[in-house]
């Protein structure tokens, strides 16, 4: 026989821990219909029966019509969903507050049991209630979720559910005070660990340094550690998804174009998704750790005042910080924001944070054009990105989210020893969610670009044909880039813009290859045996791990900038590059463009997953426009004295476009967006 229970409780009560304890790995995470709220379901088999569980989002109250998405999802399920028994998860260290929700639940008139969590902590703090007495006062059975072993807990839950199904008794709703009378037998400890730790980490002077240190550690671990695994995984998946299948398809005689679509297109897309897995996995491990230990709420508390100045709550700081490592992780972590408008605003800002892939492009340009002042140039670009992000927040708030309230109340949970099983399990589910849901978009976008890049041009080389169809497209649109200082013959730079959408660091590879006149398209690596690949992969992994210390000291990889400044002479390809760009001004404008333009395929995938198609469209169009206009203005200002009239005209048109965009947001986007948010809420 099967039964269905639903877990309901306040946020931070250890509800997820209880869910994991009962279900183990027999669980899956989906989305509630139409909203970006995790919907966790799972089951456990016990005594030949099956108990299904639905985990509702953590809420304080669901009685009111107002409130956020979480509340409305919970209210909808509790009123209309199919379940036999409510399992109310109650935090023993916060009894009185938690019982307010219990009271609301009893008023629904459905059979219910209570599972008490954090009982270990409550005993330590000497605030553990007498469970038997409390159960008697309430007329509801109470289980100790922490004290019972997994199997005992499962058995007892099953027994209670069976009893309640056979004989549905509904408890009487009484004031919380009546329930609590005589339940507390001990005198609470005057001082507890949480308050002691808070006096240090929230200290007026020490608080900020500790916060910065924690953020640095998280960044170095999430981005630095994750990056170490990118190359080995890239080399491994490139072999198994691309080279290996394409080699064997060739041997069997599969037509060339099918190989390109399957191996280079789809296989290459899958390779791209795989390269993001280590960084995202490390990120989720770090975030889960911060969340589970209780420091996350403190970090938000410390930085809250600063974030308030751009209309965002303290929690938005972490996604933006992570953007410097990888915009994908940044967008994925916006989920920690409960308000959908604040979440969308943060997502719109994230792409302007200069990620580590873009640094590769800066390094290349520094080594060619800006050897004397590379450091300050790169610093300036990072700063420009931040300014654009803040500007975006300001404009979007004015045009789209006028009524977004930044202030909200954050509960600061008691510090808790991190539960590793929990952390690993929840990170695993999130990584799987990324691969499955964002992966689709990433594969499609990257397959289209890769195929275009592999298809040979329709003109032969003798007629001046370019190496690929993408290069021809690049040549056609090069004039559109002339206001940003790209010469008519500088089509490799235009092609770089396209491949940069695939992944920002691809700009470097593309330009390197095209400037040095290496024939594109057929530059597949020589086929090696699977054994040789594994050997190569482990060699890369080993050399990365031995160099790990450098990553911790320099998580952004900025030392590459000073290395580039000390390179000896320019290669032939780079000399050609110098001749094709309109001087250093053109090169600088191009960098401004690369910094700000269209998010990469993976970031677009993450945006679709977290913000929906419409918002992805808005963010992509906005960043592309800002990049173009920013680059035009940069180049025209830098070369103003050479052609004042045409500079004024170009800048005028560019600025007119941005102004039109800003007003367009209010006229066309806001109505649709409001409708969407209301439908979601």
């Amino acid at each position: 026989m099967s039964h269905h229970i639903t877990l309901v409780g306040n946020p931070n009560t250890g509800k997820t821990t209880l869910f994991n304890k009962l279900a183990g790995t027999r669980q899956k995470v989906g989305n509630w219909a139409g909203v970006t709220v995790d919907c966790k379901t799972g089951f456990f088999p016990v005594a030949g029966q099956r108990v299904d569980m639905t985990d509702l989002p953590g809420i304080y109250s669901f009685a009111t019509e107002s409130g956020g998405i979480d509340e409305s999802v919970a209210r909808h399920f509790l009123n209309k969903g199919e379940y036999d028994v409510i399992v109310n998860v109650v935090d023993a260290t916060n009894l009185k507050r938690n019982l307010k929700l219990t009271k609301e639940l009893i008023e629904l008139g459905r059979p219910m049991i209570v599972v008490m969590t954090m009982t270990d902590l409550a005993r330590k703090m000497r605030i553990m209630p007498d469970l038997e007495m409390l159960a008697e006062n309430m007329g509801i059975t109470i289980l100790d979720g922490h004290g019972l072993s997994v199997i005992d807990l499962q058995k007892q839950v099953l027994a209670l559910v069976e009893t309640l199904k056979a004989n549905p008794i509904v408890a009487q709703s009484k004031p919380v005070k009546t329930w609590l009378s005589g339940v507390m037998k001990q005198q609470a400890k005057a001082h507890n660990t949480t308050e002691f730790v808070d006096r240090i980490v929230l200290h007026p002077l020490l608080g900020i340094p500790i916060f910065l240190l924690a953020m640095y550690a998280m960044f170095a671990l999430a981005i630095g550690l994750g990056t170490l695994f990118i190359d080995p995984i890239d080399s491994f998946t490139a072999y198994w998804f691309v080279s290996f299948p394409s080699h064997w398809m060739q041997q069997v005689g599969v037509p060339h174009w099918i190989i390109i679509v399957l191996a280079n297109g789809l296989g290459g897309g899958a390779e791209l998704v795989a390269t993001f897995v280590p960084v995202i996995a490390c990120l989720y491990l770090c975030l889960s750790f911060l969340e589970d230990s209780g420091y996350m709420a403190r970090a938000a508390f410390i930085i809250d005042r600063v974030m308030l100045s751009i209309g965002l709550p303290g929690q938005a700081f972490i996604p933006l910080l992570l953007g410097f490592g990888c915009n994908v992780t940044s967008i994925m972590s916006t989920r920690s924001l409960s308000n959908p408008k604040q979440r969308m605003l943060t997502m719109a800002m994230a792409p302007f944070m200069s990620c580590s892939a873009r640094l590769a492009v800066y390094v290349m340009f520094v080594s060619v054009f800006f050897r004397d002042n590379g450091g300050s140039l790169v610093f300036g670009l990072y700063l420009l990105g931040i300014l654009m992000a803040v500007g975006t927040a300001w404009i979007f708030r004015k045009q789209l989210f006028k009524d977004v309230h930044a202030s909200s109340f954050i509960e600061m949970p008691h510090y808790h020893r991190p539960r590793w099983g929990n952390i690993v399990l929840s990170s695993w589910h999130k990584v799987r969610g990324f691969v499955i849901r964002a992966g689709k978009t990433i594969i499609v976008v990257s397959a289209i670009l890769t195929i275009l890049n592999s298809v040979p041009s329709w003109r032969s080389a003798a007629e001046g044909g370019k190496p690929s169809a993408l290069a021809e497209v690049g040549q056609v649109i090069t004039p559109a880039f002339s206001p940003i200082g790209m010469g008519d013959n500088n089509w490799p730079a235009a092609v770089g813009v396209f491949t940069g959408v695939l992944a920002k660091e691809a700009v470097v590879g593309t330009m390197d290859a095209l400037y040095s006149n290496v024939a594109g398209g057929n530059d597949q690596a020589e086929y090696i045996s699977p054994f040789a690949n594994l050997k190569a992969v482990s060699a890369i992994l080993w050399s990365n791990l031995t160099g790990a210390m450098n990553t911790l000291i320099d998580p952004l990889g900025l030392s590459a900038v000073s290395d580039a400044q000390h390179e000896e002479t320019l290669s032939l390809g780079h000399q050609k590059m110098v001749s094709l760009f309109n001087g250093w001004q053109g090169a600088f404008a191009y960098l401004v463009f690369v910094l700000l333009y269209t998010p990469c395929a993976a970031a677009i995938g993450a945006l679709v997953k977290e913000g929906g198609l419409l918002w992805t469209g808005v963010v992509t169009a906005w960043s592309t426009s800002v990049a173009y206009v920013g680059a035009v203005c940069t180049y025209q200002v830098l070369t103003f004295s050479q052609h004042p009239t045409s500079s004024l005209v170009s800048m005028g048109i560019a600025i007119a476009w941005i102004v039109l965009f800003v007003f367009g947001l209010k006229w066309w986007i806001k109505p649709t967006l409001d409708k969407n948010i209301i439908a979601r809420g």
Binding site: N94, L101, T194, E195, R199, A297, A300, F301, R305, F409
Partner: protein, 82 residues
Amino acid sequence: MLLSELPKGKVAKIHFVAHPHEDKQIQLSALGFDPGETVKLMMKAPFGNPLQIKVGATLIAIHTDDAQYIHLCDEQCEGHDE
């Protein structure tokens, strides 16, 4: 006295909560800001905002903008329990 004016470390009782936003009034009550409940200002964030308040057994971060709608009992007033 208002919660926003409570000196650090001092314990007081809530007299009543009158937040102009209905939503926030409900949220505050759900978080435990009820008449008669004890509150204590634990910490202030850098730049004086938000405040870390202990209400009952719960620690809550709240902005002074919101804390100014929570009225506390002065010495003569006794917070009436719910």
